[in-house]
Symmetry: C2
Subunit: 342 residues, 2 copies
DNA sequence: CAACGTCATGGTAGCGCTACCAATTGCCTG
DNA sequence: CAGGCAATTGGTAGCGCTACCATGACGTTG
């Protein structure tokens, strides 16, 4: 009356089946799969044969339960559709595809509360590492990260006080560099147009302001922002708003490339000459910036590389050799193009 | 000498701790959390209090192991950065955020082999449902899907032979509609420009060809394709190639909006009048199409909705009431804009 | 009022795997 | 040649949870 197999599991082969077929103990199969070096050549071969024949695939849930560690990277980003994060995520995926680690991707929608909730969920799985976007976690989130018991990498930005590790660049410097470029090129009434205004955009704005004040050009009416999610159509509207406030506007530093593209299209529509009448600078340097007409000056950021480095650092930490450099600044580059070439 | 707790787990509260504190059996705690209706009001309250006090969070790995089902949706897409899939994924995430289900997102890089590998990995977790992009799975992948023992939804396209369920639209019809629109507007030497040429692009091309042949306008030299990943810069190059082959080209149906935008920019650069000299139609209708200058005609597809519907169908199937309609065609809309208004 | 369902609760036995601790063997050292 | 050590293998006992079955306390019914 005993039906040991078939009772619950879908009748899939287990490690015990493999062990029986190979004539070894279950633990040896486990070792052969995870630390081949510790099993003799011969047994390894037998076990591999049994695995192949049965089509055995280890159950990650059982594995996680027994070892109190899931082979999962938790990744938290504020948006899935924003090209910027998509690139970071792609870097993460590509770096992890050859490893045994799976990826658990969470979308916080730029909400601290949602981030806390997801951190709670992710933490309950005992992930191997956590990668989170930004450095402005709520106190609760920070606590959750600190007590996660795994490497943590904050990405996109650098800052003074990492939970564990950081890979990014200075958005403040990026904003300042973009603005200084406009000033140096001869623009004077330079506006800031920013949507979404998350912490990174705030810092870009701060960089803009610093540059403008240093040049004695700052005027609060030059700043146009909205909490609305950034998009190309929004860029168009915002340029209209900005021009309505300051008709003498002769340059704009845009929060990001979507906005910059919208601004460019609106200039075309309103027959405003770019770069002659208005100069435009974007942020992130999506690949369309270089083929736009005119091509758009932008701050190139290394998003894919941020993803790769974050994984590399986490992997190193998991392997036991934490990188000596806990904060990695990947910088950015000003790409001068036609939109500011006058 | 017995240290039952603290031995392995990080000392987190378990269901047994909650049960002890609430003065009930562990199984009752389990039930209170999963099927509250089956536990009396009073015990439910006591248990909730204990849960809150201890900060208990169920271990999803243990849960998955014991119940032979993980609360995970496996999602397989060919690209993470392509806006089209990002929207579908966003729809999936938004629909699932209020549920207990986690999401396991895989990137197949348009590779059948990679899809098989990921399906193997995902399957080993016994997911609650699988959502995969496309209908052209390899025989191996199809077998894996069929034997996954969970609801499966194929998204993006509709076709005659679903593994289980399908949500999408006809890319062939989309391609034909776009091309017919150009023909009706009076364009004659209409090119097809397509990058990446995955199965969906192939079907759009087939739709283009059908429309052109029906009008007696088809000419193989009008078709320009490449296996390279689609991008805006690539659109620019491909228009150049197309014009080099057929200088009399007077219209283009583009594989997707990135290409269309690149084509538009190249027209500006080469001083080709749009829509007068060349008409342009894109595919997907990203939001920038309506603000481009001139605005670009495109085939609007319901990507976010595809994600939502896929989840809704999977959830229904999990709950035991499979939708009577296994194939859902969400259609598309031709958005006529300035780029074909002559 | 005996027989029977229903509801609420609990005990037991795993799910499939790995941490921990032997046990065995062969070889090296003094 | 005793003692020690590394290399290889295995047994046992869980990891934290839930499926399954059992138990008792209530009605409900004929």
């Amino acid at each position: 009356m005993i039906k040991p197999r078939s009772r619950r599991g879908g009748g899939r082969p287990t490690i015990a089946d493999v062990a029986r077929k190979a004539g070894v103990g279950a633990i040896t199969v486990s070792r052969a799969l995870r630390e081949p070096a510790r099993v003799s050549e011969e047994l390894r071969r037998q076990i591999q044969a049994a695995v192949d024949e049965l089509g055995y695939v280890p159950d990650p849930n059982a594995r996680a339960l027994a070892s109190a560690r899931a082979e999962v990277f938790g990744v938290l980003v504020p948006s899935l559709t924003n090209n910027v994060f998509a690139e970071v995520v792609r870097g993460i995926y590509d770096s992890l595809s050859a490893s045994p680690f799976r990826i658990q991707l969470g979308n916080t929608h730029y909400s601290g509360l949602e981030e806390e909730r997801l951190l709670q969920v992710f933490g309950s799985q005992r992930p191997a590492a956590l990668i989170v976007a930004g450095i402005d976690q709520t106190p609760t989130s920070r606590k959750l990260l600190e007590s996660a018991g795994c490497p943590v990498v904050q990405v996109m930005e650098t800052g003074p006080d990492p939970v564990d590790m950081m890979v990014g660049f200075s958005h403040f410097d990026g904003g300042r560099t973009a603005t200084e470029h406009l000033i140096e090129t001869g623009y004077r009434r330079i506006g800031f147009i920013g949507a979404r205004m998350d912490p990174r955009s705030q810092r870009r704005l701060a960089g803009y302001r610093a540059a403008m004040e240093a040049a004695g050009l700052f005027d609060p009416r030059l700043v146009t922002t909205t909490p609305v999610l950034s998009s190309v159509p929004l860029g168009r509207e915002m340029l209209r708003d900005a021009l309505a406030k300051v008709p003498t506007l002769d340059g704009v530093f845009c929060n990001n490339d979507d906005i910059a593209l919208g601004v460019l299209f609106e200039c075309h529509r309103a027959s405003i000459a770019v770069p002659k009448t208005i100069g435009i600078v974007g942020f992130n340097d999506l690949d369309m910036m270089q083929v736009a007409f005119p091509s758009i000056t932008s701050i190139r950021t290394h998003r894919y590389e941020i993803g790769r480095r974050a994984v590399a650092m986490a992997l190193a930490a998991i392997a036991g050799n934490r990188p000596e450099q806990r904060i990695v600044d990947l910088g950015f580059e000003l790409k001068r193009r036609e939109s500011t070439a006058r």
